[in-house]
Homo-oligomer: 302 residues x 2
C-alpha cells in the first residue's frame, strides 16, 4: 500500500497533486492549515488540519499517518511577499524536521517542491545537471538549503529523494494579483491592463499539469532535481495577446506601461528532459487551451 | 555595550572563544547543555544551562539575554559519528531558528562555525572565494545549508553575518580518540601508535588560536566565509614525528599500520588571506610549540 502525506494539499498546485495521487492508487493524507471547501480534494482523501510550523503537532501527524511517501509542497506563498518573507526561515526549519520525522517513521520516498529561483538566472536555460545554483532571494536560498540537507540525509538513510523545481504556474484559482489572472480579469471587466514591455521569456505550465507532474514524479524512482515546467517557453507579450483573443478588449492591453523591476531576468526557462524522459511525464495542456479554459473559469467568477 | 551569546561555549573551541571575547570587552553569555567545571569559563561570563534543540527554551534564552552579537559554535561533535549523525539535521533546524530569533530580538552581528568539509576537497587549497562548495558528508551539507540560509536572511535584515570554516584543531582536552592525542597518549604510555601512511597534508590550528580567531572575527565587520586555519599545512607523518620528539618512544610509531579510509583526501589545506589580512588575526602558535604544550598537558593527565 502506498500511503502519501501531502503537505499544502489544498493549495493552488496541491489540490491537483492530490487528484493525481488518488488516481495513481495512493492512500492520500492531506495536511493543510485550513479545511478546504467541498470538492477541492478527491474522493477518499483524508484531510488533517495541522500547522506544520508547530513542531509537536507536525511530529504527531507524521506518527499518526505513518506515510510510505511524502510530497512536501507547503511553503509560504503570500503574493509579492514570499521572495523575502521571514517565514522562509520557518519553512526551512519545518522542512528539515519533517524530513527527519518522515525518515524516522519508516518513510520510503520523498519529493519536495523546489523552485526555478534556485538557479542562476543569468546562465541561460535552466538544466538540473549543468546550471549553477545561485539563488538571488531568501526564498530561493531557503528552498535550496532544504534540498541540500534533505537530499544528503535521505541518501544516507537509504530513502529515495526527489526535488521538483517549479517554474511559472497559471490556471484557475490563481491569486488575481499575478500576471495572467490580472490581465484576464482586467480585460474581462473592460479595464486597462498595465504591463511591462513583455519581451521576457518564461516557462509557464498549467497548474493541473504541475500537480500531475508532481504525482508522477513521486510515483517514480527518479532521484534528485527535476524541473516542473512545460518545456515550451514563450514571450510574455505573446501570452498577453493569447489572453486578449479569448477576452476581447485587446486595445486595453498597455504593454510598456510599467517598468520591469531591476532584478527581472529576460529568460527563465527550463530544460525538461528529466521530466519527460526519466519521469515519463509530458505536460498535456498547450498554452492556448490552458488560457482559454482559465478565461472561462474567470468568466464564471466575475 | 557588546553583549554576546556564545553557543557551545564550554566545548573544545568554545571555551577559548569565551576567553577571547571577554578579553575584548564583551559581556559574555555562554549557553551549553551542561554546567562546565570550575575555571573553564573566564571571570564574569554568565552561564546558561539550556538545550538549543528545545525550541521553546532556546527562544526564551535569546529573549532573556537579548544579545547584540551571536557566536554560534554549538553542533553535534560525537567523535567518529558526527560526519553522518542524524543530529546534523537537528542542529541545522536549531541554527535556522536561532538565527531567526537573534535577528528578531535586535541582534546586530552573527558569526557561525562552518567547516572545511563544505569545500570540494579535490580542488586544491581551499579558498573562500574560488573553491567550489561540494560537501561529501551530511555534516558538511547541513553546515553549508545553515550558512546559505542564515547569510541570505541576515543580508535581507541588515544584520552583519560571518561564517568561520574551521580546519583541523588540536590542543589540550581534545577527544583522545582523535589523531594527535591518540599518538601522544600511546607514546607516553609506551604503547604502539598505529597510523596510516601519513603522507596526507592537513592544516592544523591550535584550538586556543581557533577560539581567539573566532573572537577576533566576531569583533570585526568582516562578512561571509573566512577560513579558521593556521595557513601552514603539514604532512601527518611530520606531525607524528614532532610528537615523538616530545614524548620519546618514536620506535612505537607505526606508520602504514592502518589503511587510510577511501574518502581520505591527500590535501586539506586553507587559504588564510581573509583571516590574516581582513580580520587581522595571525594565529600565533607554531605547531612545534603547540604540540610541546599539548604533550605536557597530557603528561599531567596520565
Amino acid at each position: 500500500m502506498k500511503r502519501v502525506l501531502l503537505t499544502g494539499g489544498c493549495g493552488f498546485v496541491g489540490r491537483h497533486a492530490a487528484a493525481g495521487l488518488a488516481a495513481r492508487g495512493f492512500e492520500v493524507h492531506v495536511v493543510d492549515i485550513r479545511e478546504p471547501a467541498a470538492g477541492v480534494l478527491p474522493e477518499g482523501a483524508v484531510f488533517h488540519a495541522s500547522d506544520l510550523l508547530n513542531t509537536d503537532a507536525m511530529r504527531r501527524l507524521v506518527g499518526q499517518t505513518s506515510p510510505t511517501h511524502l510530497l512536501h509542497l507547503a511553503w509560504t506563498t503570500a503574493h509579492g511577499k514570499f521572495w523575502t518573507a521571514d517565514e522562509n526561515m520557518d519553512w526551512l526549519r519545518a522542512g528539515v524536521e519533517l524530513t527527519r520525522r518522515f525518515v524516522a517513521e519508516g518513510g520510503q520516498r520523498m519529493v519536495g517542491a523546489g523552485t526555478c529561483a534556485e538557479y542562476d538566472w543569468n546562465s541561460g536555460i535552466c538544466s538540473e545537471e549543468t546550471t549553477p545554483i545561485k539563488p538571488a532571494t531568501l526564498y530561493g536560498h531557503c528552498k535550496n538549503s532544504l534540498q541540500q540537507a534533505a537530499a544528503a540525509f535521505c541518501r544516507q538513510k537509504g530513502v529515495s529523494f526527489g526535488w521538483g523545481r517549479t517554474f511559472f504556474l497559471y490556471g484557475p484559482a490563481e491569486d488575481p494579483r499575478r500576471l495572467i489572472p490580472y490581465v484576464i480579469t482586467s480585460l474581462l471587466k473592460g479595464e486597462t491592463a498595465n504591463c511591462t514591455h513583455g519581451r521576457q521569456v518564461r516557462d509557464y505550465i498549467h497548474v493541473a499539469d504541475a500537480g500531475a507532474a508532481f504525482a508522477a514524479f513521486l510515483d517514480s524512482a527518479v532521484e534528485g532535481p527535476v524541473n516542473i515546467a512545460s518545456g515550451r517557453p514563450r514571450m510574455l507579450r505573446e501570452i498577453t495577446e493569447i489572453i486578449s483573443i479569448f477576452t476581447g478588449n485587446s486595445h486595453l492591453l498597455h504593454m510598456g506601461a510599467v517598468e520591469a523591476s531591476p532584478g527581472d531576468s529576460m529568460l527563465i526557462a527550463a530544460e525538461t528532459r528529466r521530466l519527460t524522459d526519466e519521469v515519463g511525464f509530458v505536460p498535456p495542456t498547450g498554452l492556448e487551451i490552458g488560457i482559454k479554459e482559465t478565461v472561462e473559469w474567470w468568466k464564471r467568477q466575475l
